[in-house]
Symmetry: C2
Subunit: 323 residues, 2 copies
């Protein structure tokens, strides 16, 4: 068994799933955003978690897709809120159609996610949905905290980690937990899966923040320094604001308050401030900590070693990714 088998099963399901037909303005945006690609990490995690405990992991494919549909629903609505023009290099739904269509298509996408999730054994449905509802609410909470942080300059590391835990990580936790639930794993095991997913999710998001500044421009695939240009409140900026004093602090605040600037100059200057404050090392330490916690959670899981190694290897690739 290799990850390619899981990916093939997901692609096949992605190509055959029907989201709805009429009116086209409502359903075309769903097909559009789902066609933009992405790494499909979350449904892949569901399938790998199911495979830990059953050969019949294919019964997790439609519920796994529910997680991907939910994730893309949050992207569609977040893009409106963030006024983002592009998603994966293509126009966002509210740009290609309009705001109202992006709101309403997103709504029906969330309903679609619930419909796909119904495809679990009846005796597991209530538990799956209880956990999904909690997760979905937390993802919304994380997005609201993220928006609240935009106008604050005193966000603490603890607050930031809690925000990304909600906005990003709990869904990775749920993706793994769902696979375990479908495969009939006991509650202790699904707890380890969820916690492992959350920890790896936090490490994953912190790595995202790090790569935006310290990524290899060739391998990264996106513009390095985009978060610096946009004053995005990342882990690195929050750490820098917490640590900087004196003239370095003045310089950092100065760059944050500039409304017109040379982009390359700002990226270079802020990166240099991060260098002086040792922000890269702090961030790498924190990333390694969270991934280590995730691996420790997975260690607790009692499953066939070659199957477990698939999941561990997947997490290791997330930790070592350069794009």
């Amino acid at each position: 068994m290799s990850p390619a088998t899981f990916i093939d099963a997901l692609q096949n399901e992605l190509q055959t799933t029907q989201y709805g037909q009429r009116p086209p303005e409502l359903y075309d945006p769903i097909r559009y955003i789902m066609s933009l690609g992405g790494k499909r990490l979350r449904p892949l995690m569901t399938l790998m978690a199911a495979y830990l405990f059953t050969d019949d992991w294919r019964k997790a494919v439609r519920p796994a897709l529910a997680v991907e549909v939910f994730h893309n629903f949050t992207l569609m609505h977040d893009d409106i809120m963030d006024q983002a023009p592009l998603r994966r290099g293509q126009p966002t739904v509210h740009e290609k159609w309009n705001h109202n269509i992006a709101i309403l298509s997103g709504d029906v996408m969330l309903v679609n996610a619930y419909e796909l999730l119904l495809d679990v054994d009846a005796d597991k449905l209530k538990r799956v949905l209880t956990r999904f509802n909690r997760t979905a609410a937390e993802v919304c909470e994380g997005q609201q905290f993220d928006m609240n942080f935009e106008t604050r300059w005193d966000v603490t590391e603890t607050e930031y980690i809690d925000m990304i835990r909600l906005k990003t990580s709990v869904l990775l936790g749920f993706a793994l937990e769902l696979g375990g639930l479908i495969a009939g794993a006991d509650e202790t095991t699904t707890d380890h899966l969820r916690e492992g997913g959350i920890n790896i999710g936090i490490g994953f998001q912190l790595k995202d923040d790090l790569l935006d500044v310290y990524g290899d421009p060739v391998k990264f695939g996106k513009q390095v320094g985009g978060d610096i240009i946009a004053n995005k409140k990342t882990f690195l900026l929050i750490e820098a604001l917490e640590k900087a004093t004196g003239s370095i602090r003045d310089e950092l605040i100065g760059w944050l308050n500039q409304t017109t600037f040379d982009k390359a100059e700002k990226v270079q200057a802020v990166t240099s401030i991060y260098d002086q404050l040792g922000i890269r090392e702090v961030t790498e330490t924190r990333i390694n900590e969270y991934f280590a916690r995730g691996f420790a959670n997975f260690e607790q899981i009692n499953a066939e070693p070659t199957r477990k190694s698939l999941l561990i290897e997947f997490a290791r690739q997330l930790a070592e990714r350069e794009s």
Copy 2:
């Protein structure tokens, strides 16, 4: 047993239900919109339908509230799309807070509706959710058709009725069906409940359109003629556009194209056109037809007569309402 008993049970549940706490920007708007009142028709219908078949109708209270929460979620998002400043005489959520908060609070409200709906017996959960998902998608489809109609002058009566069936009526149908499902009614019976609810829902919306023009200003509670002022594509306007010819048609189109006008004068003129075309009578005939179909659906239901009369009486009040 009287409707007041059901209303008391609902009010009690409304006051104790928790929607969430942090961040307050996410959950305050939910408490706000739920506190604005309204007739609570939909959850009341769920309880009355459950009571047809069981004394234990109280187990339907939380699922009934799910229908009301879902309805208010659609209002929150529709108000953004329609740029409505007021809802039940109070500022809409996007006006009182902002657009982003109205989008995101609405999202988590939909999740809340699903959570309340989980409170049905495990063996009924899948059927309840399958029906709810279908209904929720249809409500979104109806809203999209309604928005599409705004820029069209050739909407037919059939298209209009289909739009209001989706946007308004299927949720009334589901509200009744849900009560039947929870109380263990068989599928034939829950089909009659749903169809009856849909037919009465169509009659209800057509009555809404009628009252806006021909309501008694004292009893109506809202400004008579609001739809005419806003060129809202109601059943009356669509009928008039289908029926009007010659100079009457020119006059009607003329009023629709006026950008500055005296409101009272426009209301009087368009009402006079409706009068000349016999639109009131056509609308009343159609309303009576749909309510009659609804009563015929209810006739098919096998339940204790005094219990059934509660539901029939409720529908009769909807048919005869003047506000």
